[in-house]
């Protein structure tokens, strides 16, 4: 597995021009989700409509290209999904990262498919899953 599979153009694009990235510094630090082994940190705000459908996911984070690109892709992808759909995608993505599911499962999710290569870099999997675990924790099922 080569470096270029890890840092695909589309990943660098999300890293350099993150979608749905806002200033959440007003949120207390308890809201920060952290990956202490590399110091990545992000805060997440999920807004849902009355039916529980996700209207927007916004984030504010610092971290490596993989963690920030993954957060950016996630915020794009989950907009408009029901919470239960969003949880399924999160479970699917983290499953692929852990090597428990086929990388090809990500193909239906557009940009996110580019992160499939991370599964081959054990030391970077936590970078890719940080935002997703943050989502799972910040939007508990009712």
């Amino acid at each position: 597995m080569a470096f270029d599979d890890l840092y695909q153009e589309i990943i660098l694009d999300h890293y350099k021009r993150p979608r749905n990235s806002v200033d959440l510094s007003a949120l207390p630090s308890e809201y920060a989700h952290e990956n202490p082994t590399c110091g990545d940190s992000l805060k997440l705000v999920v807004e849902s409509d009355d039916d529980g459908r996700i209207e927007s996911v916004k984030f504010d984070g610092t971290g490596c290209a993989i963690s920030m690109a993954s957060a950016s892709m996630m915020t794009d992808l989950l907009r408009g999904k029901t919470r239960s759909e969003a949880y399924d995608i999160a479970a699917q993505f983290t499953g692929v990262m852990r090597g428990e599911r086929q990388v090809s499962e990500l193909e239906e999710y557009g940009d996110l498919a580019a992160l499939g290569g991370v599964a081959q870099f054990p030391l970077r999997i936590k970078c890719a899953t940080l935002a997703w675990h943050a989502f799972e924790r910040s939007a508990p099922l009712d």
Binding site: A2, F3, L6, Y7, L12, Y15, K16, P18, S21, P36, T37, C38, G39, D40, S41, T62, G63, C64, A65, I66, M68, F121, R124, C127
Partner: protein, 411 residues
């Protein structure tokens, strides 16, 4: 000690199979502070032990056992001479620095009670912090910390404020694994001993890179790992002055460490075996002995001079990289250099450097409190050993320039 003709780094590189193997020879290995490469003589000593002597130590009377025990104990003697211990009885083999410090915190710390104080520093590796936190949770002792200034140098003047008559121990690193700071250990041991308090020195990053003598340092305990000084993993050393070892209770119980055992009680044999329960890492000890002999064949002072020169060169070279910030003092310092590059996360830097065949370490370097003190989440660390070259540092610098181009415009 014999003074040997100074060997060239090219000749030293020839001793290390991994540097000369087709699959790995292209890698500029700048991660020796994490673990050093192993020379052929060490690998041969380990396999030679299994091929020629394999047997358990200190028990059987057959000739293989005698050979094994001989090799194991000669290694202990090599270690004792290398650090200037008074006796082989002061050398306990452990799994590494971490176990050595845990042993002291657990066994020597048994006599501490709630309200007693252990003084550490803000720059400790987790291995010289967490064992004391565990002891604090068990006994109610208090931990206090010698602060560092913004260059990463200990503010020893703070000892006057930290000190009370409840201080029972001081434990500090000799060389910071992040900042490269070389601490004035002697000043600390003098200060503590005037007040009757023992000092433990974490020598993991010093013993492989400079002459370390326990009498020069005046320390009561000293811990280091074999794998950072060209030896194998899984073997380390605790040096402790004999009276301390005699007073300490065992750390683990089992075979080898007993004198007599009844169903309800036991008595202990003498140090160092008292602290070496179970079959030890015999091959590891033999490998460590061979590693120290290897270091002495080059000359530890020659190694230190080589690494000092390289460190100076690397600091000058890295200073030319725009947007790069180095941490730690200018000099004197050990052969580790930690840095960050504006707007690029250390993991991305290290991953790109790997693509360029340059091996460095990103992260918090097992020193999260220090990272917090310096207001960074992580750093990139380059570190050097006997086989490191100027060309490798040049490759690091040019790969860093390419890293910046690749990630340009990031958040």
């Amino acid at each position: 000690m014999n003074t040997t003709q100074a060997r060239s780094v090219e000749s030293i590189r020839g001793d290390f199979p991994i540097i000369n193997a087709p699959a790995t020879g292209h890698i500029a290995y700048l991660d020796s502070a994490a673990t050093s490469h192993k020379p052929r003589v060490v690998i041969d000593a380990i396999s030679g032990y299994y091929e020629e002597a394999n047997s358990n130590v200190h028990r059987a009377v057959h000739s293989l056992a005698a050979e094994s025990t001989g090799r194991f104990e000669r290694a202990r003697s090599t270690v004792a001479k290398f650090i200037g211990a008074n006796s082989v009885r002061e050398i306990v083999f452990t799994r590494g620095t971490t176990e050595s410090i845990n042993l002291v915190a657990s066994s020597f710390g048994q006599r501490f009670s709630a309200g007693d104080i252990v003084i550490l520093t803000e720059m400790e590796h987790h291995s010289n912090l967490v064992p004391w936190q565990l002891l604090a949770a068990r006994t109610g002792i208090e931990l206090r910390f010698i602060p560092i200034d913004d260059r990463g140098v200990l503010e020893l003047a703070a000892l006057d404020e930290l000190w009370t008559d409840r201080v029972r121990m001081v434990a500090l690193t000799q060389v910071s694994n992040v900042l490269g700071t070389i601490n004035d250990v002697r000043a600390v041991t003098d200060y503590a001993h005037e007040r009757g308090v023992p000092v433990l020195v974490d020598a993991a990053q010093s013993v492989p890179h400079q002459r370390v003598g326990v009498d020069d340092l005046g320390c009561d305990f000293l811990a280091f790992s074999g794998h950072k000084i060209y030896g194998p993993t899984g073997i380390g050393v605790l040096y402790a002055k004999s009276p301390n070892l005699d007073q300490m209770e065992p750390y683990m119980g089992g075979g080898s460490m007993i004198e007599a055992v009844w169903l309800d009680r036991s008595t202990w044999t003498e140090a160092p075996q008292k602290f070496e329960a179970g079959t030890p890492n015999i091959a590891g000890a033999v490998g460590l002995g061979a590693a120290i002999e290897y270091v002495e064949s080059i000359g530890i002072d020659a190694l230190a001079a080589h690494e000092q020169e390289l460190t100076r060169y690397a600091m000058e070279s890295l200073a030319t990289v725009a947007g790069l910030t180095m941490y730690g003092p200018d000099a004197p310092r050990g052969s580790v250099i930690s840095f960050v590059i504006d707007d690029i996360h250390p993991h991305d830097v290290a991953q790109y450097l790997d693509r360029e065949g340059v091996a460095v370490r990103p992260g918090h370097h097992c020193a999260q409190p220090l990272m917090r003190r310096l207001n960074v989440v992580a750093m990139v660390r380059a570190s050097f050993g006997a086989y490191s070259t100027r060309q490798e540092i040049d490759r690091l610098v040019s790969a860093l320039e390419k890293t910046k181009e690749f990630f340009a415009g990031g958040i």
